[in-house]
């Protein structure tokens, strides 16, 4: 147990991660109820929620494995784990449809992974995604503002969380502005 807690408090893992809002900084205490404690498997939203939880837990395991591979300088294996996680991510959209904060973070992670265009993630980026996944697992009904803090966290590690299509839209808007300026 002591080894595990040391692993998570290594300064080189945490130094680049900015502080989050007070609500997100509150750790889930041992005596706090988890999603599995609260919700039984019932049709409708509970079932979708528990499925999302399973995907998130699997994602956390993959990202932990990716982190270990990076520490061991096995970059190909690390990238393979991230790619597998990326493949599972779209399933979370089904749960995201009705939960605003959750969907904001999931979409940001999805776009961040898509935008990397094959480049491997570094340790800070993997840790930021792990932190997002932990928050989504413990607090799937987080407030929108708290979700934006997590998106900021991803961006501070150099991940681009905007959809790839947004650059094309930005170019079109910029061209329109230039045409208007010339016209006037």
């Amino acid at each position: 147990m002591a080894g595990a807690s040391l692993e998570f408090t290594q300064p080189d893992e945490l130094w680049a991660i900015p502080s989050l809002s007070p609500a997100m900084e509150v750790p889930v205490e041992r005596d706090m109820l988890t999603i599995k404690d609260l919700y039984a498997d019932a049709p409708g939203r509970p079932q979708i929620l528990l499925k999302a939880q399973a995907i998130l837990v699997a994602g956390l395991e993959r990202m932990a494995a990716a982190r270990d591979y990076i520490v061991g300088e096995e970059l190909l294996n690390a990238d393979y784990e991230v790619t597998l996680f990326q493949g599972d991510l779209p399933e979370l959209f089904y749960f995201s449809a009705s939960v605003e904060g959750f969907s904001t973070v999931v979409v940001a992670i999805h776009d961040a992974l898509k935008n990397r265009q094959g480049k491997p993630l570094d340790l800070d980026q993997i840790n930021a995604i792990r932190r997002c996944l932990t928050a989504l697992t413990d607090r799937p009904f987080m407030k929108y503002d708290d979700a934006l803090d997590l998106v900021d966290l991803l961006e501070t590690t150099g991940l681009c969380v905007n959809p790839p299509e947004s650059s094309a839209v930005a170019e079109i808007l910029l061209e329109d502005e230039e045409v208007e300026e010339r016209g006037s």
């Binding site: 007070p22 609500a23 509150v26 889930v28 205490e29 005596d31 706090m32 109820l33 988890t34 999603i35 404690d37 609260l38 919700y39 039984a40 498997d41 019932a42 049709p43 409708g44 939203r45 509970p46 929620l49 939960v99 904060g101 413990d138 607090r139 799937p140 009904f141 987080m142 407030k143 708290d146």
Partner: protein
């Protein structure tokens, strides 16, 4: 004998959360009700004081917010509790955000069922026959009588969840006093004998607010209660 929920009618459903004192109550509870009024145009204030605010959404539905707890209650809810799910989702999602509540010390879900009987004795016998309630002799403690209004209660708790069951029979009387101009008529009075079953299902540990979703919780806990309640008796 075991309880069959199908023979009961659902009288009331309540969803309550408790939290550490939320002092923003005094600043923001008006904003909360304003938002709810936009969503539920028929909303009317019932009571307001520094300690609590209580509103009626309609004749059967109330919402009540205190500095350290809040609940919404529906009398004669739909059998699938869709109305409580809808109201609970809107009510608690907005309230916990506005009051900046991050942790819930208790979440409680209460269902009150009832079953009508022609006679008070039949209601008493129904309750007595559930479980191991004794059947007393005709004369006890020098009282020559019979068992009326039996009441059985149990609480079962773990480190995370708990529930309390109350089964009782009772006679309720409705009396409507008539105004003087109708004094020639007999006063309206009607009596009902009923057995009520109250199920209180709750958390016994803290819950992060962001893990709480009223719709998912009501769906989930209602399913558990309907599935497992008969195993209790």
């Amino acid at each position: 004998m075991s309880i069959d929920l199908d023979q009961f009618a659902l009288k009331e459903a309540i969803l309550e959360v408790r939290y550490p004192d939320a002092f923003l109550f005094w600043d923001h509870v008006g904003s909360f009700w304003d938002g709810m009024a936009a969503r539920y145009p028929g909303l009317e204030m019932d009571e307001a004081s520094p300690q609590e605010t209580k509103v009626k959404f309609d004749a059967n539905t109330i919402g009540n917010v205190f500095i350290n707890r809040a609940f919404c209650a529906i009398a004669r809810p739909k059998s699938n509790l869709a109305d409580l799910q809808d109201l609970g989702e809107a009510f608690f999602h907005s309230l916990l955000s506005i009051l900046n509540v991050n942790s819930l010390s208790r979440i409680g879900f209460r269902l009150v069922y009832y079953k009508s009987f022609e006679q008070r004795a039949a209601a008493s016998e129904f309750v007595r026959s559930q479980g191991s309630m004794p059947k007393p002799a005709d004369k006890l403690l020098n009282v020559d009588g019979q068992l009326v209004d039996p009441h059985a209660e149990m609480r079962f708790e773990g480190e995370k969840l708990g529930f309390k069951l109350v089964l009782r029979s009772q006679e309720t009387t409705l009396t409507v006093p008539l105004p003087p101009e109708f004094r020639d008529l007999a006063p309206l009075k009607t009596t009902r004998s009923i057995a009520t079953l109250e199920v209180d299902y709750y958390t016994t540990a803290n819950t992060p607010s962001a893990a709480f979703d009223a719709r998912a919780l009501v769906t989930s806990w209602y399913q558990v209660i309907k599935r497992d309640l008969e195993k209790v008796f």
